[in-house]
């Protein structure tokens, strides 16, 4: 059929096609420039108008102009065609221009295929479960338009049903291909041109105030799944960069940190925790392990600050197996380390000296001084808040003597500073603390909001010991997770328990939320993270360890699935001819063995008469069976007994 005839007969097909294309392109809104997005939808809308007013569609010259506009638009954004963004946008512009010149049925197919490519390109940007479901649904709609075009059936719902059946039938094959098809690492050059997506996270420096932004972000940093016991909340310190150098305001990593310690042999004792870390994409190669990691495999290594570093590209989601002991002794301190850990930005002021004096910092052993200092924080009017007042000059002093409002980094930096004034080696450790436990999936989720800073003090015979001054002022910050919504209010955080009513109401919501996050976790872990390494690991655990065997398995599985599907299709056809007919056909087959085949157009009674003449000794049975069949199939009333008898007679019938 010519396109014009098709369109005249079924104008719905184009409406259907254009709508599904509109839906497919829509999620691109977040990563294509507004100009191209608007360009696309203006042309789509134009095409829609053209359905009813074909005169409004652009002529040859206007179309040429539009083409030039599209190219110019692309050129203004990218100077080449390589890379994810440029490629995706090229397809979008091409699709929108092609929409304007639908002349033959072939164009409809071309547009559908272009739209499929655009739909797939969405996965270059987002791989989450919701997006996958959305793309699957809109692709189903697009498939339905193809069904419409091919079957000349303008009924959208019938076509949608057919399309979804096709999709469901394709799913098992997709699963087999997913599991068994040799995975190729995505060519890096494809994505290289694009700007790095900026991700917030811990930085390698700290200025009291910089972590307050983090405190409000719900973004996931990593997940931890423990094999066995979990440490209590008070021990969940996930170690990040250690900041030893300060200029009075800003804390940074010491310049010569790489030379600090060799032959380091911390001693571990007590409980052993084994866990799997699933790091989200990140822009630093830090891996946040539980204080203090001891067993880890390639590509991880531990630096002088006991922080785990990965040599892998942190841009991808990665999984690591780590063992940690919360109880440890790091032993001696090196000279460089000692110097770094007692570095001062200048001579302390008189007020500071007086405070240390008052807390007996110069006269008692370090352990005692730590206790006194923590008591000081606890007893004096110190407050925990995520929105402290600005402290431009001398932040430590201002915090200690004037404002007294601050969060972890204020406390950590002030604590370390005072320790150093008392000549005790101390440093700031940043990282994450706590994490929310997902009861459904049995894993901990650590978000940016869990960012934390604490102090580490070197003590004789104990090595580096963790001291968290924040725990002194706000033990709840450490003991339990706080509510993000409360944080957003910008007030002093209260850790008082929420009333019971609100608790039960929110528990439901929380559970649903956790369930969803568990699904997402599994999706990320098993589907998105299924790379060549995981594939070969998984397959070799099944005994498939070379590519040849893998291909055999793949071909075999697809063969089996195809066979099952076709068997189901055939069965379905058989089902349509009902049970009575099936039994009657069995009867006919028995007769056919004697050369008495029933013609498809031969009435059952006529057939019976013909057969009776050939088999007079069986005529009564043949007559019985035929009569009851006619009664069952064509009669006004038939009883279940008739059916039973019919089945019985046919079963007993022998030629």
């Amino acid at each position: 059929m010519d396109l014009k005839n098709l369109m005249n007969a079924h104008p719905n097909v184009l409406i259907f096609l254009l709508s599904s294309i509109g839906l497919i392109v829509f999620p691109h809104i977040s990563h294509i420039p507004t100009s191209i997005f608007v360009f696309f939808y203006v042309l789509l809308f134009w095409r829609f108008i053209g359905l009813w007013e074909p005169g409004y569609l652009p002529g040859k010259w206007l179309l040429l102009l539009l083409g030039v506009c599209g190219i110019a638009l692309l050129y203004s954004q990218h100077q080449g065609l390589f890379g994810r963004d440029a490629g995706t946008r090229l397809f979008l512009v091409a699709l929108s221009l092609k929409l304007m010149e639908i002349k033959s049925e072939r164009d409809l197919y071309l547009i559908s295929f272009l739209a499929f490519i655009v739909a797939a390109s969405q996965f270059l940007y987002e791989q989450n479960l919701l997006m996958a479901a959305y793309i699957l649904i809109v692709c189903c709609a697009l498939l339905a338009t193809l069904v419409c075009i091919n079957s000349r059936d303008p009924q959208p719902f019938v076509a949608l049903k057919t399309a979804s059946v096709i999709v469901v039938q394709a799913l098992p094959i997709a699963v087999v291909l997913f599991i068994l098809f040799p995975r190729v690492e995505a060519p890096r050059w494809m994505l290289l041109n694009d700007k790095q997506q900026s991700r917030s996270g811990l930085s390698d420096s700290m200025e009291p105030g910089s972590i307050s932004d983090l405190g409000l972000s719900d973004e996931l940093v990593f997940r931890v799944k423990f094999a066995g016991d979990m440490p209590p909340p008070a021990q969940r310190y996930w170690r990040g960069p250690v900041l030893a150098h300060t200029d009075g305001k800003r804390w940074t990593r010491s310049a010569n940190r790489d030379f600090e310690k060799f032959m380091d042999q911390p001693k571990f004792k007590g409980l052993r925790y084994q866990y799997t870390l699933l790091m989200e994409p990140h822009d630093k190669n830090w891996v946040f392990a539980l204080d203090l990691p001891t067993e880890y495999a390639q590509p991880l290594s531990r630096n002088a600050h006991y922080q785990l570093i990965s040599t892998e590209n942190p841009d991808k989601r990665a999984e690591y197996k780590v063992v940690s002991y919360p109880d440890y002794n790091t032993g001696f301190i090196t000279r460089t380390e000692y110097e770094n850990a007692t570095q001062m930005p200048g001579a302390p002021s008189a007020r500071i000296k007086m405070l240390v004096e008052q807390l007996q910092g110069f006269s008692i052993p370090p352990e005692q001084f730590i206790k006194h200092l923590l008591n000081h924080f606890r007893k004096e009017d110190f407050h925990y808040t995520l929105t402290p007042p600005q402290m431009e000059q001398n932040p430590i002093e201002t915090f200690l003597f004037e404002t007294r409002y601050g969060f972890c980094s204020h406390y950590a930096s002030a604590f370390v500073y005072l320790m150093r004034v008392a000549n005790i080696p101390a440093r700031v450790v940043t990282g994450y603390q706590g994490g929310e436990f997902n009861t459904v999936g049995n894993f901990l989720e650590i978000r940016q909001a869990d960012a934390h800073a604490w102090a580490e003090v070197w003590l004789e015979n104990k090595g580096w010991v963790r001291v968290d001054p924040t725990a002194a002022i706000a033990p709840e910050r450490i003991e339990k997770n706080f509510n993000l919504d409360e944080l957003a209010l910008g007030s002093v955080i209260r850790f008082a328990p929420v009333s019971d009513n609100a608790l039960t109401a929110s528990r439901w919501l929380k559970q649903a939320h956790q369930l969803w996050r568990n699904v997402d976790y599994n999706w990320q872990r098993w589907v998105i993270n299924y790379n060549s390494l995981n594939q070969s690991k998984f397959l070799s655990s099944l005994g498939v360890d070379n590519i040849k065997l893998m291909m055999y398995w793949m071909i075999g599985c697809i063969g089996v699935i195809t066979a099952i599907l076709s068997w189901m299709l055939l069965r379905q056809k058989q089902k349509a001819t009902d049970r009575i007919l099936r039994i009657y056909n069995r009867f006919c087959q028995k007769l056919a063995k004697r050369g008495l085949t029933r013609d498809v157009a031969e009435g059952e009674r006529d057939f019976a008469e013909r057969v009776k003449a050939k088999l007079p000794e069986r005529s009564s049975e043949i007559g019985q069976i035929t009569d009851v069949f006619i009664k069952l199939r064509y009669g006004r009333v038939s009883t279940p007994e008739d059916l039973k008898q019919f089945v019985q007679w046919v079963k007993l019938f022998k030629v």
């Binding site: 498809v600 009435g603 059952e604 009674r605 009669g635």
Partner: protein, 300 residues
């Protein structure tokens, strides 16, 4: 009721020899409240069949001989001025009978043929703006000569469609012919026939026929047949919905005559040639040849 039917068929068989199936078809058409068209060369017993049926059913019977100069008024009747009462009186024509034998219908002009149209379809006659109902039951048996004969006007399709069945009688076989030749004058025999099925009984049977059950499975088959006529290249024109209804109606009557309360595929096949043959306009005058491809359509 079944007794009456068998008796009727038996009696008719004594008059028209060797044509059991055709007699049954004619009766079936009557029971299905349809009109019958008998097409054959002159002298094979068309008129005799019509006459016999009318006699056995005890119905008023009138024959109209169609000629090329017959006028509608000759069929329907006309208003005649009554000089005594000074008014027009309607004199009903021969169509006001229970059984009307329209002999050699294709010898008349289309104008006269169409006069029968309304009567056949609506069971009423309109003359000069006044509508007169026809007696019940009303049954038209028309005979026609094969249209290749001289002096015939082929029946228009619309009128052909109004006949439920068209049958061909054909020559009798040798044994029947022998009996016929040796036997008595048929016309005299008809005169002596008893009324086997009075009109009340006929109407009762006609009603009972409509109650015959049609299963879904049979409707599937019926539809498959109809669809085949529309999609196959054998036929220039498929069965109309009226054709489909006619097929089912005739099959019900056939099933009733075979003492069944539900239609089976054989019933459809038995009436197929008579009901569908003249509607498919295949150009083949022989109905059996016309519907041969139809009889290859699968039942299930």
């Amino acid at each position: 009721m079944q007794n009456a039917i068998n008796q009727l068929v038996g009696s008719a068989n004594q008059i028209i020899l060797g044509k059991d199936h055709k007699i049954r078809l004619a009766l079936c058409c009557l029971l299905a409240r349809g009109h019958l068209l008998i097409e054959d060369i002159p002298g094979v017993g068309k008129t005799t069949l019509a006459h016999t049926l009318a006699k056995l059913l005890g119905l008023h019977y009138q024959r109209i001989q169609f000629t090329s100069d017959i006028l509608p008024a000759d069929i329907l009747g006309a208003s005649v001025f009554d000089a005594k009462n000074l008014e027009f009186n309607f004199h009903p024509g021969p169509v006001f009978n229970q059984v009307v034998l329209a002999d050699e219908i294709n010898r008349a002009t289309p104008k006269a043929q169409s006069a029968l149209l309304e009567a056949m379809e609506e069971h009423q006659v309109t003359v000069e703006g006044k509508t007169y109902p026809l007696p019940q039951p009303f049954f038209v048996i028309a005979t026609q000569n094969p249209s290749h004969q001289i002096g015939t006007f082929p029946l228009p399709e619309s009128q052909l469609d109004r006949f439920l069945m068209r049958i061909e009688l054909g020559y009798p076989d040798a044994a029947a012919e022998r009996t016929l030749l040796a036997g008595e004058n048929r016309h005299r025999l008809i005169e002596t026939l008893p009324v086997v099925m009075p009109p009340e009984a006929l109407q009762k049977i006609q009603h009972a026929v409509t109650q015959v059950f049609v299963s879904d499975a049979l409707l599937d088959y019926c539809q498959a047949l109809i669809v085949f006529t529309r999609e196959s290249s054998e036929y220039p024109c498929g069965l109309s919905p009226r054709g489909g209804l006619a097929l089912l109606r005739a099959a019900k009557a056939w099933a009733f005559m075979a003492q069944r309360d539900a239609v089976i595929p054989e019933d459809l096949q038995a009436v197929l040639a008579a009901v569908a043959g003249h509607r498919l306009r295949s150009g083949n005058p022989n109905s059996d040849a016309t519907i041969a491809p139809l009889l290859k359509v699968a039942i299930h």
